[in-house]
């Protein structure tokens, strides 16, 4: 099947992006280079086309109850205009997807799903709650992410309101350069920033306006390559790597997004049981103590015996060493534990450590 193109495809081509087929979409993987793009987001700002992400709406009189049944987190904890990170689980606790949910009102919610999961999430939701209340709106949105310490200043000239007044994990319906938009103070990089949802026909104009506004900060377009290294430095999970149908939120260490106080949600019984009983594999971060680059699928050893596997790995552009995440047995999960990553049959020394690998203050803002 021919991969889908976002409304910004021609712009990416004109910027000489390299493309990759990702979840059925032809997406820019890099423009000027992964490391340069990564560091620009850490020190100033970058612009991402993430229009491949899916948008699924749950609406109607019973929407809040339906959402509460679908998600592990508690939508009752936030008000209208708030967003929440959550998981959708199966009855056995396996993760269907991880989403950000936007709460417009008690009767209208928008789930932002991973591109690889949009269809699965849509069908799953329709099977679990009244189907008529679940609508796939993915075709109605282009999505941009403005990320980096200069994001507020980049956005200010484009909005009629003060962008800094949008609090973290909140959103507004506002105009960007005259285009109707949903703008949230969210992101997947660990930096300050905004995610912007617009009509696909407005996407090229908004992209150009943001790039123009960001020019004085040296804003760069950023591809999926740096999106992955940025999220990995923060220890954020990526569906298909750290999260799958066969892993649970407890194994992934995402307990704080699971509200066991809620009367019920799909998967609650299994997750509760697992939280009590303990898990056989735990997601950890690790860093290499020697040169090398860990990659998804590499084996982890503890004192010469197999103890897990790598789910994601890269060379951290900020720390300049190999970092990764892995599922390991309980005996290898404590930060500080020395483990080995098997790279091409060679045992490379590594150490389990807490995530994030990077904290904002490592870098001073540069304009």
């Amino acid at each position: 099947m021919e991969p889908k193109r976002t409304p910004l495809y021609e712009i990416h081509r004109s910027l000489k992006a390299k493309f990759v087929d990702f979840a059925g979409w032809l997406m820019p993987v890099e423009y000027s280079g992964v490391i340069e793009e990564h560091l620009r987001v850490r020190t100033s700002c970058g612009l991402f086309d993430v229009s491949h992400m899916g948008e699924v709406e749950v609406a109607g009189p019973g929407a809040l109850d339906a959402v509460q049944r679908l998600i592990t987190n508690d939508m009752g904890r936030i008000g209208d205009g708030g967003c929440q990170y959550t998981l959708l689980c199966r009855p056995d606790g396996g993760v269907v997807d991880d989403c950000i949910v936007y709460r417009f009102s008690r009767e209208r919610f928008l789930f932002i799903a991973n591109a690889s999961n949009t269809q699965k999430v849509f069908e799953w939701m329709r099977g679990q709650v009244p189907a008529a209340s679940v609508i796939d709106r993915s075709g109605e949105f282009a999505m941009l992410a403005v990320q980096g310490p200069s994001s507020v200043e980049v956005m200010r000239p484009l909005m009629e309101m003060e962008p800094a007044s949008i609090k973290g994990f909140h959103f507004v319906e506002a105009k960007i350069k005259g285009a109707e938009a949903v703008v949230s103070r969210t992101g997947y990089t660990g930096e300050d920033g905004f995610e912007v949802y617009i009509d696909p026909k407005d996407a090229p104009g908004v992209w150009k306006a943001v790039m123009d506004s960001g020019a004085r900060f040296g804003m760069l377009p950023v591809g999926l390559g740096a999106r992955d290294t940025l999220r990995l430095e923060m220890g954020y999970p990526l569906y298909g790597h750290e999260l799958t149908d066969e892993t649970t939120p407890i194994e992934a260490g995402l307990n704080r997004f699971v509200s066991l106080d809620k009367p019920d949600f799909i998967g609650k019984g299994a997750i509760e049981a697992q939280a009590l009983k303990g898990v056989e594999k735990t997601l950890v971060g690790f860093e290499l103590l020697e040169a090398g680059v860990p990659r998804a699928g590499y084996e982890i050893n503890l004192k010469g015996t197999k103890a897990g596997f790598v789910t994601s790995g890269t060379l951290s552009p900020v720390l300049k060493k190999g970092i990764g995440m892995a599922y390991v047995i309980p005996g290898a999960k404590t930060p500080g534990t020395e483990i080995e990553v098997i790279i091409r049959k060679r045992a490379v020394r590594a150490r389990v450590r807490k995530t994030p690998f990077y904290r904002r203050k490592l870098f001073e803002k540069t304009v």
Binding site: G33, E36, G225, A291, V293
Partner: protein, 128 residues
């Protein structure tokens, strides 16, 4: 993109320069551009034996791992330690500072199927 005419090439994207019976080997401009930022290189030790069309090392970018294939058989007489220290040289100067190994060529017959700059350029156009 640059493909010096005084070098020979492989369809695995290595370049080779033979002087007397010593072959210097690296990867092409096209290869480094396709890889993106190179962050790690693994090369054989001096004295190691390499075999034509077999992997002799590994180059890793942020995104991916690629094998390096030896254009000829022979023994490694010199390894560029500087490129192991600073793999980014592969992006900056693939035909100069970022040469990888020097091989004492075992058999001149090995050189027969190496391709010219023009042939290599045509090959990558077709591969795209």
């Amino acid at each position: 993109m640059d493909f010096p005419k005084d070098l020979k090439y492989t369809r695995e994207h290595e370049w080779i320069k033979v002087e007397d019976d010593i072959a210097t080997v690296g990867i092409t401009d096209y290869a480094q551009d396709s890889l993106g930022d190179v962050v790690y290189v693994e090369l054989p030790q001096e004295g190691a034996t390499v075999t034509k069309n077999e992997p002799f090392g590994v180059v890793e970018s942020v995104k991916a791992v690629s094998d390096l294939y030896s254009p000829v058989s022979g023994s490694v007489v010199e390894v560029n330690d500087a490129v192991i220290e600073s793999p980014e040289a592969i992006n900056e100067d693939p035909y100069g500072d970022a040469w990888m190994i020097r091989i004492e060529v075992g058999s001149p017959d090995d050189l027969g199927d190496l391709i010219t700059a023009e042939e290599y350029q045509r090959f990558i156009e077709e591969e795209k």
